[in-house]
Amino acid sequence: MKIKIAITGGKGGTGKSTIATALAYKLAKKYKILLLDLDVDCPNDNLILGIKMKKVKDVETTIPKFDYRKCIKCGLCSKVCREHAIVFVKGRYPFVIPEQCIGCKACKIACPRNAIAEAKQKIGEILIGKKGNLTLIGGKMKPGIEESSLVVNAVKKYAKAYEKNYDYVIIDTAAGTHCPVISALIGCDIALAVTEPTPLGRHDLELILKLTKKLKIKSHIILNRSDIANKKIIENLARKYEIKITAEIPYSKDIEKNYSEGRPIEHRAIDQIIKEVK
């Protein structure tokens, strides 16, 4: 049985990518590992693992292409566009603001004269890299584009064909709790919520635990930098949500240094996590 493990946490900089890469690195010594970097806004796993990535595919969305010979300037396309991506002034031809368009095709469906065709707009790239037993597939959204979740979904879809050849699929998510994180979490078996014992870490962890509960994904808490402050605030929250703190990683300058130099960490807490999720 393949297990899909998501690494998330809510707050940024708590160590999501550190844990994801360390877990992938360690497991790859024995198993075939597929690591998906679904932080398409700011993908970093390749930097930590020192993997050179190669572009395999563009991620494109649909964008309306107007045939002004057929257009009767009715403005319906602009009216149905909830993203306000189509500008229409009475008596003039409508036009699209590409950055605003999410590719939903509502305008095309609404057009009574069939004057809208589908053109393609590049919104990102899918990249792949390998190191021994570890395959890393990631996405990179084009700066200026808003809908990160479209790139996340495209990477997931692309990676689907690979999954059957691997023993574990590890998914690194973005910070936050919004659409790209939700899209990354859907379909995962286990979520590892990485946090730190500060009021900010606690606050965002609670949001993520509420989210994984809603999505019905079994969660574990990974307490990173466990000794930088009183960890009681996280222990109390863990009790409230009946979720286990599976591993604790005390602060260490070596870990910080490894990260700042772009190296995966090795720590017994990672073995602890592997034991628990197996």
Binding site: N44, C104, A106, A175, K210
Partner: protein, 293 residues
Amino acid sequence: MKTITILSGKGGVGKSSFAASLSIVLAEKYRIVAADCDVDAPNLALLFGIRKLKKKEKISTNYKAFITKDIKKCPNAKKLLDVCTFSAISWDERREMPVINKFLCEGCGACKLLCPEGIELRKVKNAVVGRAKTKYGFHIVSGQLKVGESGSGNVVEVVKENARKIAQEIKADFIVVDSAAGIGCPVIASIKGSDFVVGIAEPTPSGLSDLKRVLEVVNHFGINYGIVINKYDLNRKVTKEIEKFAKVNRIPILGKLPYDKKFVKAIVNMMPIVVYEKKYEKIFKEIVNKVKL
């Protein structure tokens, strides 16, 4: 009234800590309003020691599609699966009808155009927006996206709008906007309409890579910006790289902050670092002087 927006691309590099201290230092001389625009993981209020906001109101910036009982009459029902760009619609074989995954639906309404009777678009209350007066004398506006909901960009717009209203009432000089991590919709919504952007850089390969990506977005809007290097002594080699990147691109370095455990202690005590450790006030004042508006 000028808006200064704090961002970084990478999360956890010190955006909120910086925004909190910048607000304190600005407030000594000017009238300000702070706005936490990291609406899916808002933390700025906590740094001012505020656990609960006041005047909270539920807002709705988003729609979601729902199947109605008339769906069986719609001849296009099966086509809905292909029309949904967000893969939110699947087919329930047993009930012979489409179902919508509410976590994936973006409320674009394309499905309703195919089945006007069988689909209903409903406004959803997707966020809470509130405010509070900090003990430091100024207001903070903060928003919270409801768990599992989408539309964070629109929620950011509402938070900024509310901050602007207060700023107009009190004739504020500055609005300080703390943005989310990443480069997607909530960050773009935070950048829009700003007068100056401060990019927080952390000297790690990820920190630099992410900063470059988010500054590329800022370039789209033609807004002036500067860089603050946080924990600059963590990796001096990458710090040098950041400085080189800034020099080549003619981006001013507004200041550098050292790695200091006191920053964590300040967070634990829910205080901005300039309040917890007075000696940092000087660095922040120098940064303020370098912000060109």
